[in-house]
Each structure stands twice: as C-alpha cells, then as structure tokens.
C-alpha cells in the first residue's frame, strides 16, 4: 500500500463510502497512468471510479499534468462507466476541483 492511500484511510474517509463519495477526483499512479472520475468508494481492492477517463503518458502524448489541467477546466468524457484503480497502484488522490486550470 502506498503512503497516499495510508493517509486517506486514517483520516480522510468515513466509515461508509468516504467523504470523496460522489466527488470527481484525480487518481495518480507512480506509473504512466492517471485517472479522473467520480469517486464511488475506496475499498481494500482500490479506488472505484464512475464515469471515468484515463490517460497514459506515451511518446507524443500530453504529460499527466497537462492532461489533468485540461480535465480541470471542463471535466472528462465518461469513457469508462466503472473502473477500479488497484490499491497498490494508487500514489495520490485529490479533488479535480482543487486542481488549478
């Protein structure tokens, strides 16, 4: 389990589906992928996102920061109705609304 996930589990989330339930979040990984979607819940398996989109940094593609900044401006297309980011891949979770455009 990563540090960011640890901190969320001790203070940020409530006993039910958590305070991020229904909130659009950015889930970053230590790898090339970053995810944006509506947080449904955080489970031992990972972060469950609804109406989510994902971006992977590849040659010629936007950086994670650029992609997230664009998402912060208008949101993301719901390319995945339901998506689970495995717990071991989660490096950080933050509200998309807190990201500067």
């Amino acid at each position: 389990m990563r540090g960011a996930f640890d901190s969320l589990s001790v203070g940020t989330f409530h006993q039910d589906k958590g305070e991020l339930h229904g909130v659009t979040v950015v889930v970053d990984t230590d790898g090339p992928e970053v995810f944006v979607g509506r947080c449904h819940e955080v489970t031992p398996e990972g972060v469950v996102l609804l109406d989510a989109d994902a971006h992977a940094v590849e040659a010629g593609a936007a950086s994670k920061e650029e992609w997230v900044r664009r998402a912060a401006r208008y949101g993301v297309w719901a390319r995945h109705r339901h998506l689970v980011v495995p717990r071991q891949r989660v490096a950080s979770i933050r509200r998309l609304g807190d990201v500067a455009e």
Partner: protein, 144 residues
Amino acid sequence: MPYSPMLVKPMREELTSAGVEELLTAADVDRWLGQRQGTALLVVNSVCGCAAGAARPGVRVALQGGARPDRVATVFAGQDLEATSRARAHFADIPPSSPSMALFKDGELVYFVPRHRIEGKMPQEVAADLAQAFERWCVAPSIR
C-alpha cells in the same frame, strides 16, 4: 430513468421561483438559445446533492448581485432528457456533467462551470464564481 415528478418539483421550483425559465423540450431550447443577442446563463439542474447544496442556492445568490445575464434558463438532466441533450449539443466539445452552468454572450459560450467546480463548495463560493463571470461578461463596457 427519471425520478418521480413529485420528487423533483421542489428542485425545479428552487430555480423557477428565482425567475429562471424552465426549458422542457428541445424546441424550448432552440427558441431560447436561438435568441443570440445579449448574455444568457443556462443552468443544467440535477437531483444530486451538489445541485441541492451548492448549485441551485449559488445561482440564486448570484442572480441577486449587480451584474447578471439578460436571460437565465434551466434544463433538468436525467428528467427532461430531450431538452438537456439539445442544450448540451450547444457546447458539444465539453464533457457532459450536471449540475453545470454555461454562460453565453451573443450566442457564443464564454464561460462554463462543470460539476467538479461545484462539488463540495458552499453556495457562496459558487455564487462568487458566477458573479466574477457576470462582472466580466454581463456588464456593459460603458459602465465598467
């Protein structure tokens, strides 16, 4: 599937009682957005908690300020499907979200507030965001 009309009635009235015109059909939307002159705010209403806790009360507060759009209307996502779909076609490059708000000036989209900028906010914060946009886009140049 749309919720019971009885359930959403107060959610509609929270905006209509503030003078917001309700657009129920695609024809309503075409008529309203077809009138391109001036400034117009379109509110995409929804049944979710952030619409109740932030978006609708935020719009009400913003409309009480000095600068405000010439016209304000609303479509209800998940309820008035045809009207909402037609409205979203007018800003088709923007991923759909609700609640959300679109400000038009002379028929062009000039400002958009997506759902994630409403989530977790206080009504006053949503109102302040809108008020800034109204100040920028809805005040006649001569009195700026």
